[in-house]
Amino acid sequence: MAIVSAFLMPGNPLPFLQRGNPPWGAIAAGADRAAAALAASKPDVLLIYSTQWIAVLDELWQTRPHSTGLHVDENWYEYGDLTMNVRADVDLAKACIAAASAAGIRSKAVDYDQFPIDSGTIVANGFLNPDASIPAVIAANNLYHDFAGTEHLGRIAAEQAALQGKRAAVIAVGGLSASYFDHDINIAEDRIFDDAADSANRALLDAMTQGSDALQAALPDFNCATKGDMGMKHLGWVLGATGGFTGATVHSYGPTYGAGAAVVEFHL
């Protein structure tokens, strides 16, 4: 495998937009440490999967060479605008489309001016790759794919990167516990929604530090204890693309309007 680093990044834009707010600033500080680790791994390409890029027909892959423009999150618009600056590794994305289609996962390229790249991808790329100097392969979250199917997609992306001789960093964009506050809160006092979600998040993060086998063993308990973000399929992307990891460093963990968010660097 040509995987040189792997990370879990939160998709909620609040830590990126409002790092001056202490609970969110702590998450952002962890993202800064992840950015340094990513740079040290010298990847040629980022393999990004975001739970927030929703697909329902076919699997979609971003192939616009350079996506730019303003993006306003549909929920968190009052906290500021996001700037899209994302470059695609078009050759590798097209190889992924061909390989996924050959594997029975009907796939399509997305190459449209002003396509609304999701907040999660913009934020993760903004933290880790702010000048967009590293191109990316970005895969959508097809709602009808399960965890195992997403592992398969991750594996396909990594295999194609290896075939092209590229050093790849795996970026899984998504949250932990998904329960959130559905009313206005004092953002300075943001916290995980409840103790059950907090405990489940901490147990899952602890499992990550013990390696991929421990993570896989812990996921059923996590999913029983709390509602995870999109079935935690973004972790399937990590497992599939890396083929497993030996441990992890949790760079930060905290709330995003009650939902769990963490920045994690996986050890390969």
Binding site: W53, I54, A55, V56, L57, D58, L70, H71, V72, E74, N75, Y77, E78, D81, R106, K108, V110, Y112, D113, Q114, F115, P116, D118, Y144, Y180, F181, D182, H183, D184, Y257
Partner: protein
Amino acid sequence: MAQGKIVAGFVAPHPPHLVYAENPPQNEPKAEGGWEPLRWAYEKARKSIEELKPDVLLVHSPHWMTLVGHHFLGVPRLSGKSVDPIFPNLFRYDFDMAVDVDLAEACCAEAQGLGLTAKMMRNPNFRVDYGTITTLHMIRPQWDIPVVGISANNSPYYLNIDEGTAQMETLGEATRRAIEKSGKRAVLLASNTFSHYHFHEEPDTPEDMSKEHPQNYHGYKWDMRMIELMRKGQIREVMRLFPEWVEEAFAEVKSGAFPWMVSAMGYPDVPAELHGYGTVIGTGNAVMEWRLAA
């Protein structure tokens, strides 16, 4: 000032395929046609709008999904290009809409007064969702009537169907109060598909109607049962069955536009007029009208 009133409510579904198939100048992709029965249904709805001469169109869209409360567009003019994140091959539409901010603010205040979390969206760079745009284009392609855009709060999914629907009905009550105080003639648009079972792969030619039919027979039967009740004016029975319909037909009405609209209209017992029904990628779509005033 005369009391404002809701002159009509429409179920006005938002598959972007309908805009694509019509080939309006605002939309970049071009089609060979397709989904004609639904587009002809919208032609009838457009004639109704012409007759009703409303001052404002209010649309509740499931594709502006908000987590914290019910949101209202609050910028006087919004424009830009809307590229559908799910169907970018079909919908890349240059929109330019005038927003009735005064009425939106009034609806928001009434909603807050009734205990809902409600907010005004004031960011001028906000890109309006494709559900709102599709419904508005299909009902009034001239874009010459101001709009109130309302988000779909996630409560029916996050809480449960009963609590979520209750919130939407309260939002409908708030909307009616605001309209009555405004002195305006208002049309409500529930931007919802009915049965939402759909195919998972797109034909090579999206408008190839030889591929179009209900994806799920059970969902289709539910749609027909509910449409028949609506045509008979039995809206209370529709709402009694609503949770079952949502569950068994995977109906998109769960997201709230339909209960919002019928609550705002006071659960009318006038028969609804079915302008047409058709499927889009297998989902069930009805264009229906409740005429409440001349």
